[in-house]
């Protein structure tokens, strides 16, 4: 018996809740459903956003440096490695020097043709931009001379098979035959119409010297920081080239993503607000229910601050239990959702993404808001006069 009273106020709070256990459990269940919805909505919106970003920007350039269209002098980027000397590489996930050009592709019979983009690249930082490791659907990715990796758009439109030969034609009418050794699919319509070959072969085919490239492509760690990083690049070096970042060319996508983020925050805020109001009302009700007990405790010599602490603890216990149960519900619902809602390949529509820091911050903020609601509603305790409640009552 000795130790359980060390936190007497907590002990009283726990007993008050335990006494009407069924009612306390109903309260916890009700609040946890609100919390489950809050987290479910947040995770779904974050996940769809992350998947959308991955699909549209995951294998694309976030910042591009390329010659100006009208420039007759600086028509190619020379020695791109020099550019990296002035850059803070911590901002970047991937940097690729790319040599590229529009081509026509023909199947082996020469009957079917399609426009595509021929690309050869040099990875200056990290792995390839196009995520060949995870996006390869058939074949292999190690390209040798005379071989090509093609996007799914080309593969499908020309009705090709693995190891088929294709002809590619450049803008001056030269032809080149290559063997298809692999097919990749990123889900991005643009990228899926690329043909990837050895950098040297592409440079030769498109008339570039070994140190010359069409563009320098950057992927940043946080896509929403691309405009900031672009300004840093501009400040550091006086390029005679055009520099643009993805937001300038994708205003609709940006607006869509911003709207999604904003709506997620709004939804979460209002759910949390309603949960806090509920806790406020519940604790108010509990105080009214316990008026006599409060009067007795005051008469026995318990200070107002300590009695207030009892009710803060009550809201804290209700809050933590609700958050834990709410999280369990949220994950169960997510699990159900990803198992029930699938694409035509039978795979989940998108990967679930949980931003850990944000998630922890939200959990803590929930608990804090609930405890604050409890504190605000229990401030009236100091106004309760025990003489009115217990004597003559």
């Amino acid at each position: 018996m000795t130790n359980k009273f060390k936190m007497l106020e907590f002990f009283i709070a726990f007993r008050f809740l335990k006494y009407k256990l069924f009612r306390s459990l109903i309260i916890i269940l009700a609040i946890s459903i609100g919390i489950a919805v809050q987290f479910f909505v947040a995770i779904i919106i974050d996940s769809t956003q992350a998947n959308l970003i991955k699909r549209t920007l995951g294998y694309s350039s976030h910042i591009t440096i390329k010659p100006f269209d009208n420039d007759k002098i600086n028509t190619k980027i020379k020695n791109p490695e020099n550019f990296l000397k002035n850059l803070d590489l911590n901002n970047f996930k991937k940097i690729v020097a790319s040599v590229e050009g529009g081509v026509l592709v023909y199947d082996f019979s020469g009957k079917e043709e399609k426009s595509a983009k021929l690309i050869g690249f040099n990875n200056l930082l990290d792995k390839d931009l196009y995520g060949l490791e995870e996006n390869l659907i058939i074949g292999e990715k190690n390209i040798k001379n005379g071989e090509a990796l093609i996007g799914y758009g080309v593969y499908d439109d020309l009705k090709l098979n693995l190891n088929d030969f294709i002809s590619i034609r450049n803008n001056i009418g030269d032809f080149k035959g290559v063997k298809v050794i692999g097919v990749f699919k990123t889900g991005n319509q643009l990228t899926d119409n690329y043909i990837l070959m050895n950098k040297e072969e592409v440079q030769d085919f498109l008339g570039f010297k070994r140190y010359e490239y069409s563009s320098l492509l950057f992927q940043v760690n946080n896509v929403f920081d691309s405009d900031k990083i672009k300004r840093q690049i501009l400040n550091n070096y006086n390029y005679p080239y055009e520099i643009y970042e993805w937001k300038e060319k994708n205003k609709q996508l940006l607006n869509g993503l911003s709207a999604q983020s904003t709506s997620s925050i709004f939804i979460q805020f209002f759910i949390l607000f309603s949960i806090s109001i509920s806790i406020f009302s519940i604790i108010n009700m509990k105080i009214v229910e316990k008026y006599k007990e409060i009067g007795v405790l005051k008469a026995l010599g318990m200070k107002n601050k300590k009695i207030t602490l009892v009710f803060i603890y009550m809201s804290f216990i209700l809050g933590i239990s609700s958050v834990i149960l709410g999280l369990i519900f949220a994950f169960l619902i997510l699990n159900l959702f990803t198992n029930l809602v699938k694409n035509e390949q039978g795979l989940p529509l998108f990967d679930i993404v949980i931003k850990t820091n944000y998630f922890i911050a939200t959990v803590l903020f929930n608990i804090f808001s609930i405890a604050l609601a409890g504190y605000l509603s229990s401030r009236k305790i100091s106004k309760i006069e025990p003489s009115k409640i217990i004597i003559g009552g």
Binding site: F16, K18, Y19, K298, A299, L300, I391
Partner: protein
């Protein structure tokens, strides 16, 4: 004999829409270790006076000195400490807390200050329970024992901190005649054993006449103070 209580010219108004005079220049004192009744009809001011003596309410003028402590000069926290250490309350309704066992209820005044128990205090609680004949129900909850047992548990709770004064407001008001007799006998027994001062508010003459001193109130004023030998 030592004075345990000195009340000097106490005036109390209830300040509502109209100011109502509840106590009008009340003065008396009490010796340590006696059983005193405050007797009067409903509305005479006896409960108001009890509230003031216990530091549960404030008054407009005068002085109340309990065990050498002037309670009109105490702030909220000091009054809480005063109530915990110097006063034991026994109410008409037992006001035990349903969520705690009888033993926990008895120990509550001690726990409020000390936040832990020890063998000594538990034995003391058990001794008190023994005196009032509720030693068998200590592990039970208030809802599962009789009204008489609950009131006796409340008496033990009032005594656990060895207070200077027990203030009892119509302690037998909710009890049948048998339990009334038991409770009054207990008061006298405890008074004899522990020399605790009792102030009992009652409208029942029979109960008042069991006390050594009777203070009669009418319309907020003392009409008589009688020694009952």
């Amino acid at each position: 004999m030592d004075k345990i209580l000195i009340v000097k010219n106490v005036v109390k108004y209830y300040h509502d829409k109209v100011d109502t005079l509840a106590l009008n220049n009340v003065s008396f004192d009490l010796e340590k270790g006696i059983v005193c009744s405050i007797y009067g009809q409903s509305g005479s001011g006896k409960t108001t006076l009890l509230n003031l003596l216990g530091g549960l309410d404030s008054f407009d003028s005068g002085e109340i000195i309990v065990d050498n402590q002037n309670i009109s000069k105490l702030n909220d926290d000091e009054l809480s400490f005063f109530r915990n250490q110097k006063i034991g309350f026994i109410f008409q309704f037992h006001y035990l807390i349903s969520e705690f066992t009888i033993l926990e209820n008895i120990l509550m005044p001690y726990l409020i200050l000390n936040k832990k128990t020890n063998k000594e205090i538990i034995n003391k609680a058990k001794e008190l329970a023994d005196i009032v004949n509720i030693e068998d129900v200590l592990e039970k909850y208030p809802d599962y024992i009789s009204g008489g047992e609950r009131q006796r548990a409340a008496i033990c709770r009032a005594l656990i901190n060895d207070p200077s004064i027990i203030l009892a407001d119509e302690p037998t008001g909710n009890l049948d005649s048998k339990n009334t007799e038991i409770v009054m006998d207990l008061f006298l027994k405890i008074n004899k054993i522990k020399k605790t001062t009792f102030i009992i508010v009652t409208h029942d003459e029979k109960i008042a006449y069991k006390s050594q001193k009777i203070i009669e109130l009418k319309d907020g004023q003392i009409v008589s103070i009688r020694e009952n030998k």
